[in-house]
Every structure is written in C-alpha cells, then in structure tokens.
Amino acid sequence: MLDNPAAALTIFVLAIFVGFEVISKVPPLLHTPLMSGSNAISGITIVGAILAAGSEERTLSTVLGFVAIVFATINVVGGFLVTNRMLSMFKKKPDRA
C-alpha cells in the first residue's frame, strides 16, 4: 500500500499533525493514563510481529517474530489494562458535596 514514498510520507506527516493536535488537548489531570495509554498503542508493532512470525517455514525470522509477538502483546495488554485500572479510579464528586 505504501509502495509510493510520497504517499507514505504524506500519511506520516498528517498523522503527526493529528497526534499533536489531539494530545495537546489532554489536560494534565490525565497525563499519566495518557502516557500509559499511548504507550500501549506503540504495541501496534504486534501487527508486524504477526506478519514476521506467521509464515509457514520455521526460520530465524519466525523465531524473532515469535519473541516480538510476546513483547508486543505484553506492551499492548499490560498497557491497556493498567490504563483502564487508572481511569476507572477517576470519579466525579458524589452527592455529599
């Protein structure tokens, strides 16, 4: 899909813009979950890991791919779970106030 370097670069640049705009709106209150959440997203590399590990033959590449899957999954699962744990703690004032 990204055989065309110009298209790839265009997507990259636009995504950077989107990232900057979206992230700079997150208030300091939520910076810790933002950090763990975006950290989890960097586990997207699991996509590459699956592609590397998934081919039929058992070569060094598939072994590396397997380790990569484990690593990336830890990152993704751990990241989203811990973010969820944190976020579920943020509560509005109950009626007592």
């Binding site: 995504a15 990232g19 950090m35 975006s38 690593f71 944190m86």
Partner: protein
C-alpha cells in the same frame, strides 16, 4: 481476505485509535477512549491474521497467550505509586518488539536474497536502531526506578565524548547497511551498539529525571513502530506510531517546561549527581534552623480554619499516604473547612502522578486543581498543607536568580496564612536545593513519615472537637 479490504481495516483501526485518544481528553470519556483504542488495536490484529501468507496460527497464538498472561499479571499487580517503572518496562517491550520485527524482515530479505528497495533499507535501520535503544534504555530506567540499581546519576570523565563517539559509529554502521542492506556484519555491530547506547545514555540521568526519559523513549517506541510500518508498507503502523511519537514529545516538553529545564539539560546535565552539592551550597550560606511542631499544634490551627489547600508531592507517593490524606481531607470537610488539592504538573515522579494516586484514594477529580488555577487562591487560604512536596513549593524559584530551579513555576504556598510541611527531615528534594519556605514565620514543619503524620493529624483534629 482481500488485500484491499485489509488495508481498509487498518484505516478503520487507525480511526479508532485516533478517536480513542481524543476521548482520553476528559475524565468522563477517558475510560471509553481507552476501550476504543484497544478495539482499534484488536481490529488491526484481526485484519493481520487474515493476511495471506500468515499461516502459523499456532506460533502466533502461543506468543499472544504468553504475552497476554505476563501483561495481565503486570497490570493487575502493579501499585499505583510504581506507575513510572511500569510504563518504562512496557515501553521497553514495545521498542524491543519493533527492533525484532525490523530484524526479522531484514533476515527474510537476506534469506530470499532479494535486495530491499526504496525507503525500506533506511526504515529497517531506523527500526532496529531506535527500537534497540528504546529497549535497553527503558530497562535501565525501570531498574533505576524500581531501585534494582542506584537511582543516582552515574557520571565519569569523558562520558559525553564516549557516548558521542559510539553514536557516530552506530550511525556509520547504519549508513553502511542502507548502502548494502544484505551485508549482515554491520547489522550485528549496529544492534550491539544500539543496545549499548540505550544503557549508556540513560545511566547518567538521575532517578527523578527518569519520567522525562521514559516519555522520550515512549516517543521513540512510537517512531520505531512507525519505521516498521515503512518497512512493511503498512499505513496502520505508520499512523499509530506517529500518534505515539507525537504524544511522547508533547509530554516530554510539558515536563521540561514545568521544570524550567531544557531537554538537553535533562539528558546530559546529570542532574542529581554533580549539581546537587553545588546548589545545596548556593542557598545554604547562613545556617538557620526550622522549628518542628507536633500534629497537635497543627490541629489547634485547623480548629480556627475555614479553608485548606493540600499540596501533595513525591513524599506522599513514597509513603503511600494518599488514603490517610483522603481521610484527613474528609474529616476537615466534615468540620466545614473547604479542602482543595493543588497539583503541580511535575509533583511526584511522572506527569499527572498525584492525580492518579489521589483518584485511587477516591478524591473526586473536581477537587484536584491545576497550578495556574489555584495559585491566586493561596493568599485567601488559611492553611496550605504540604505533604512530601519540596521543590514544587520552593519560593527561591520565584526570587533567587542563583538557584538552579530559578524560573520553574511553583505553587505559591508561602502566601497562605499558615503553611504546614510534612516531611521526614530537612533533607532537600530532588533538585538538591534548600527550601527557604521551611524557615518562614508562618511555616510549621511537622517531621515524620507522610502517612504516619497524616494519621496523627486525623486523630488530633478529631480529639480537639
């Protein structure tokens, strides 16, 4: 599945990730945002499983199961105070995965004997380099924060020269690889050096600066994912990686701004090693003593107070005092004293760290007020209660041009009618500078562990009424 369709699935996944991140912008929508982002990742994974050529489902499943198990254990066991090291660890895995993927791709090009073209060789090199560096760098950061190794900055003469030289050699090897992608010798050298560099670049940075480093490494892990996206020609990876890259950079900048230090100073300044002694001397010319008070003394003042602002800092996190503090604040509120929490952007050891801890102790988030909003309220406040915070309430940052923290925005607690400071000793905080606040006439120092003192305060206030 049809190749076009899979690409649309990646696009859908990217949209979900973006929408999820947008929802992270408010505490009400944030839990949903996190779920949406997770769903986005799930879509990408499922789409990938349907790619032609992906056949070894056993291997893949095994990897996912092992990884998930570890991830679940980590995420459920970790204490909220240990979030910085948790993020460091996870981040290391992400970077490592990207480096592995880039390497695996390179090896399969080599095996097939086909030379990668266009932007791919450069992307492979960047993936391996950034990913590898992120991996070891994050692990060192983790070890420092978890106190597996000393948190102090490790410095030696010629350090920057050595690091610079190594970095140059690494880049040279990278360039060699881009020229001749199928020659594996430079590859192995580059991997080794990238891993080494990750360690060497992080050890001279003090433990308390780790969050900045982690945030920067977080950005790197995003960029590494982005590089693998270019390697695989996968727009989903490129987009998500860029998002993370941007996010990490922004958080890094926020932290540096809140400390009034440049990124260069954080990375190469070896704060927490040399500076410490120098700066302690700077404001410690005369030797004054601060008076210690008991929680009972403080309780008397509370009995006449109408308003209190609590300023939590790193010490509250270390002492795990958030629940005790919450108890105290409830008690004060029940005595019709208005209580707010003043949150400095870099209080604690991670941006937003105090918010998470206090949220854990069920403090409603409306009571957590940002620095800019609350600073004007101190003069009309009866009691500012500083719990384990130090640098973020140091008035020298406002007035003493010679202080290493001069210019750092602070919470103006010294302007309140009374200031109570809970800490264990007169030792300085992370920045290593004395705090004149402790010697002010309206300041009462209450020495002791934050949790213990907070519980004693609760008792004393209760007894008085």
């Amino acid at each position: 599945m049809n190749a076009q369709l899979i690409q649309f699935a990646y696009l859908a996944s990217a949209v979900l990730l973006i929408v999820g991140m947008r929802n992270l912008g408010s505490p009400k929508t944030a839990p949903r945002g996190n779920l949406i982002a997770a769903a986005g990742l799930l879509v990408a994974v499922v789409a990938t499983l349907l790619v032609q050529g992906v056949v070894s489902y056993g291997t893949i499943l095994a990897g996912i199961v092992v990884g998930s198990a570890i991830g679940v254990v980590l995420a459920t066991r970790i204490q909220m105070t240990a979030m910085p090291q948790m993020v460091a660890l996870l981040n290391g895995f992400g970077g490592g995965a990207s480096a592995l993927v880039a390497s695996a791709e390179l090896l399969s090009y080599v095996r097939v004997g086909e030379e990668p073209t266009g932007i791919v060789p450069l992307a492979i090199v960047l993936g391996v380099l950034i990913g590898g560096l992120t991996f070891t760098g994050s692990l060192v950061a983790f070890a420092k924060l978890q106190e597996l190794v000393s948190g102090a900055a490790v410095v030696y003469p010629g350090q920057q020269f050595v690091n610079g030289l190594l970095a140059l050699i690494t880049l040279g090897l990278g360039a060699a690889m881009v020229m001749n992608p199928l020659g594996l010798d430079p590859y192995f050298g580059m991997v080794a050096l990238a891993l080494l560099l990750g360690v060497l670049l992080v050890i001279p940075i003090g433990g308390a600066d780790m969050p900045v480093v982690i945030s920067l490494l977080n950005s790197y892990s995003g960029l590494a994912a982005c590089a693998t996206g270019f390697v695989l020609g996968n727009a989903g990876l490129v987009i998500s990686g860029s998002l993370v890259g941007a996010s990490g950079i922004i958080l890094t900048k926020i932290m540096c701004d809140a400390m009034n230090r440049s990124l260069g100073n954080v990375l190469f300044g070896a704060f927490g090693a040399v500076d410490q002694t120098v700066s302690a001397g700077a404001s410690g010319g005369e030797q004054r003593t601060a008076k210690g008070y008991t929680p009972e003394d403080a309780a008397v003042i509370f009995s006449n107070a109408r308003s209190c602002i609590i300023v939590p800092g790193y010490g509250m996190a270390v002492a795990q005092a958030q629940h005790a503090v919450r108890e105290l604040s409830d008690l004060l509120e029940s005595k019709d004293i208005s209580v707010k929490f003043a949150i400095h952007p870099v209080a604690g050891r991670m941006p937003g760290h105090m918010n998470v801890l206090l949220a854990e102790a069920d403090v409603p988030y409306e009571n957590l007020v940002e620095m800019d909003q609350i600073n004007s309220e101190f003069p009309e406040t009866d009691v500012a209660l500083v719990i384990g915070a130090n640098d973020v309430v140091n008035p020298d940052a406002r007035t003493d041009k010679g202080s290493p923290i001069y210019g750092m925005p602070i919470l103006d607690v010294d302007r309140a009618q009374h200031v109570f400071v809970i800490k264990r000793s007169m030792n300085p905080g992370f920045a290593g500078v004395q705090n004149p606040l402790f010697f002010n006439d309206n300041t009462m120092m209450i020495f002791g562990d934050a949790k213990g003192v907070a519980l004693k305060l609760v008792e004393a206030v209760r007894d008085l009424s």
